[in-house]
Symmetry: D2
Subunit: 327 residues, 4 copies
Amino acid sequence: MLVPRVWSSVRPGLSRVLSRTLGGWPSGEGRRMDLSGIYPPVTTPFTATAEVDYGKLEENLHKLGTFPFRGFVLQGSNGEFPFLTSSERLEVVSHARQALPKDKLLLAGSGCESTQATVEMTVSMAQAGADAAMVVTPCYYRGRMSSAALIHHYTKVADLSPIPVVLYSVPANTGLDLPMDAVATLSQHPNIVGIKDSGGDVTRIGLIVHKTRSQDFQVLAGSAGFLLASYAIGAVGGVCALANVLGAQVCQLERLCLTGQWEDAQKLQHRLIEPNTAVTQRFGIPGLKKTMDWFGYYGGPCRSPLQELSPAQEEALRLDFASNGWL
Amino acid sequence: MLVPRVWSSVRPGLSRVLSRTLGGWPSGEGRRMDLSGIYPPVTTPFTATAEVDYGKLEENLHKLGTFPFRGFVLQGSNGEFPFLTSSERLEVVSHARQALPKDKLLLAGSGCESTQATVEMTVSMAQAGADAAMVVTPCYYRGRMSSAALIHHYTKVADLSPIPVVLYSVPANTGLDLPMDAVATLSQHPNIVGIKDSGGDVTRIGLIVHKTRSQDFQVLAGSAGFLLASYAIGAVGGVCALANVLGAQVCQLERLCLTGQWEDAQKLQHRLIEPNTAVTQRFGIPGLKKTMDWFGYYGGPCRSPLQELSPAQEEALRLDFASNGWL
Amino acid sequence: MLVPRVWSSVRPGLSRVLSRTLGGWPSGEGRRMDLSGIYPPVTTPFTATAEVDYGKLEENLHKLGTFPFRGFVLQGSNGEFPFLTSSERLEVVSHARQALPKDKLLLAGSGCESTQATVEMTVSMAQAGADAAMVVTPCYYRGRMSSAALIHHYTKVADLSPIPVVLYSVPANTGLDLPMDAVATLSQHPNIVGIKDSGGDVTRIGLIVHKTRSQDFQVLAGSAGFLLASYAIGAVGGVCALANVLGAQVCQLERLCLTGQWEDAQKLQHRLIEPNTAVTQRFGIPGLKKTMDWFGYYGGPCRSPLQELSPAQEEALRLDFASNGWL
Amino acid sequence: MLVPRVWSSVRPGLSRVLSRTLGGWPSGEGRRMDLSGIYPPVTTPFTATAEVDYGKLEENLHKLGTFPFRGFVLQGSNGEFPFLTSSERLEVVSHARQALPKDKLLLAGSGCESTQATVEMTVSMAQAGADAAMVVTPCYYRGRMSSAALIHHYTKVADLSPIPVVLYSVPANTGLDLPMDAVATLSQHPNIVGIKDSGGDVTRIGLIVHKTRSQDFQVLAGSAGFLLASYAIGAVGGVCALANVLGAQVCQLERLCLTGQWEDAQKLQHRLIEPNTAVTQRFGIPGLKKTMDWFGYYGGPCRSPLQELSPAQEEALRLDFASNGWL
């Protein structure tokens, strides 16, 4: 890959925050932040009384820290961010930053429905130690979220963010795709460094890579199910829920793709599809957390209205891992 | 959470709040709150700098107060609630309660993504003067919002709410319908008095009326486009964006339906469909606010990312009213 | 195409055919064909070896002939038309015409994917005795079925049809709605007399009535589930699968609506929703045919790939009728 | 049924037909038909009066015959098969077989709505010289097309087909995906050799490869937009509309993938996405045929209701090719 693999700045996030002037982004003087690699979208552990359990969060991060991840996504969809208060969202990121080695990137989900709230959350996330902000598309008024509206929204956020912005399109949750033409336009903003695309449409992913090829714009696959295909078509990494439980395997898949061992990559990818679907579409965060419990992490309960799996669902979940040799 | 945990001042609505005991709902000793009638879902006026303009809110409410509405919905979808902070949501309701005559019901949107936040917001809304809480379905994790999850969510909220709860299903925004079986189950809760259904499927509305006929459960049509049909099939009223600008006409349609003047009702209903679609699906809140400006209210800007209409859209909006004789 | 180009025998409907001149439609000299009333969309009976059983068809029609229906739809979606050869489609209509009293309208489904095939089938249906042709939207290339394409299609068919044409929009089967602007344009064609709309969106039905009010254009509800609401908003009748088994009740609902007995109408409508859903969306034609067997008609098997109901499905079907007092 | 029941003349492909015995499929004695490679789904040329132009068909096939395709799909979705009579469908295949070298596989679309018609068409296609039958999912009653129904349908067809059967899932046209579990079950049938999957979901494609790995079951990508990704995940080829106009390039992409030159493959794939989308989703068969005219083939008109492109659409189509260096 052409993207530099070494990032030399000192204090995670902070120096970058201070070194930038609002509204005055460098537009060619240097390369953008290198996002390439694998990121687990970290879950938020809760106690039995649904309080955030920061201790368990740190324990999980320490265990996850042993894998060669590029970094971690905090407060993405798998972090149950819509169920946290603003303070909790920031607190989680702050704790995570302290628990993580400095060389690990911390991408913080900072999307809110309004532009103003998103700007404020993004600035606060930077102050809490995030290296970059991952900003989900606003979606409640999806019927009015035209390309123009979304371009306006992201431009404002990127203009005012002290840290690089990563676009985040996740139609399964938001009911909308960030339109291709909006991505192409936004890729030209000096403070927008890439996109996490969770839609699973590799034709679209390929087209994004193609249409932004002159922009040093990076695409991260939003799920492990299409990670190999995304690498094949030009993505630089992935944010993979499955990496919370099969971290070694997802990193191995990355390495196989990067070193051109496509045959082995294919075999491994095949065995990851069902487990990945199980902890995302099929059983969601309750499934992911249950699996974390099995694999030596703290999963624990979700906040309501997310419900625990039934015994039958749990059995089906187990089978999706066992039948592929992971349990 | 930004929601005030203590709410000390005595406000309109409080006596209603105090007269109820948490967890001890009357289950047959008397009729539930009577929701029947028309409600405008009030917009939130903003200044040019996107601050809530409480003065304009009161002016609008005073003007709207001249129509024979049953009450008002504050902080529904048309109130841009996802763009407001918790404090603003409560402040808007508090101001509205003060501006409105006491005999007008105030329904306050109190839905949040998490059950806990929804409970807190509902309690606070009651303290702020709301007569009932209108609770939208949580939706970000729509893939996991099974009937069981939604029944759990609403039951918890209704158990802990000091004021009656109105279910709110609005698939255009949330991407999910509150399932029929969940509605039937929830209709049996003594503190759930009805549903606002914005989906526009009158077969479903009829079935809800039928399946809850022993429950004194009330259905409100969520839009003026299918108001007549909803009355015909057993709804008791409507929450109609269009009533913000054509309040007299929507109330007239109600009266024609209630007095069995179906022929005249039909003619009037026909002329309201296009204007209604224009201020809802077609042009959304920006269209509604623009029309409010035309009709002597304060519409003003929306919060970003909602964008102003283009001149061409504005022209199309005007035509939808003019071609039906309203401009 | 094997369809007979000349149809010499004198049959019911032929005088109507002959009284019209191709391409020279009367545009105001008289009222269009009056469609108002209820129509069962007749099923096609098959033997155990999947041959069309014309004898059973006639028996069913004789039994159905005792109800005050306006007429019958042959070869609609419930007639399994996509599973019949062109000859069979025509033969079914021909037999039906002979079995039916002359005062009953026979609407024949004549839609095919290509315009040319639809024209030929429509002409042949007229020769087989159909009083009007019900033409479903072509749908395989739904991505290209713009308003312009559909207007072109229907205009060609209506230009060349010797009998009046009824538009037919059934999104559950076709995946597309005939767009509103296409309906408005097509309503001006002198040989297009109405639309059967099965989508269930009464706002749309109301708008169709409103936008075509100067055109003597008639709307038929495509299902019994929203029949009352459709009458309330201006429809003139309905094509109701449920009328194949609850013919008296559907006709009673019509009468209650037409005579303004809305309260009784509502009660009856309510009790028809679940049975109607059961024989349409929920269990489809296999459900309808099974119910016909229960109600003294010949239902019999469907052609493959439609499958028989499982015992559990059959039980659920029975419950949908029993719980509403029909079994 | 209009399909000729007797087919007496000896034709190419017949020996293959005769070498098989109905109902007695080899279940492991040898490898199945090798499908690997690229196939253009051939368009059906029409004259100005909408007659099939067999001369132009042969000319196109001769020109296409110069590329290293594995074979050709006749009467797929791009062949406008829903607009052809049964006789025309067979005649087209018969002419194609005569025009094509014997070493090129001829896959004929033989899907109809009913199982019986599909069986008859498949048998006739074999007699007309098809090497394999590509059978699209029946779809008009999509609400009833459960896995069980589709398994029944395809099993019946495969049992009775004298030639191997290729499953065909194309949700853009049919509105349904052949369910994963149905694919897995059907892959075990000795006469079902593979699937053409046009949905573009490579996670699904990978899973199909994985779940059928013990079955010698082959997957063909249904479009050039995700061809590279499909190869990367285990597909053996593609049926690509784009190969009708950029045949050399699609074959080159195949070769680059097969020889592991992924970097060059990626660059080429990128430049094919927009042209591919243009001749499929964006402008459909009218777009493909217009492009064929530009590239030295006979495109010509489509049958109605498919409409010609507008000048603006034509310009956009041209740009999709020009901006990628193909015009």
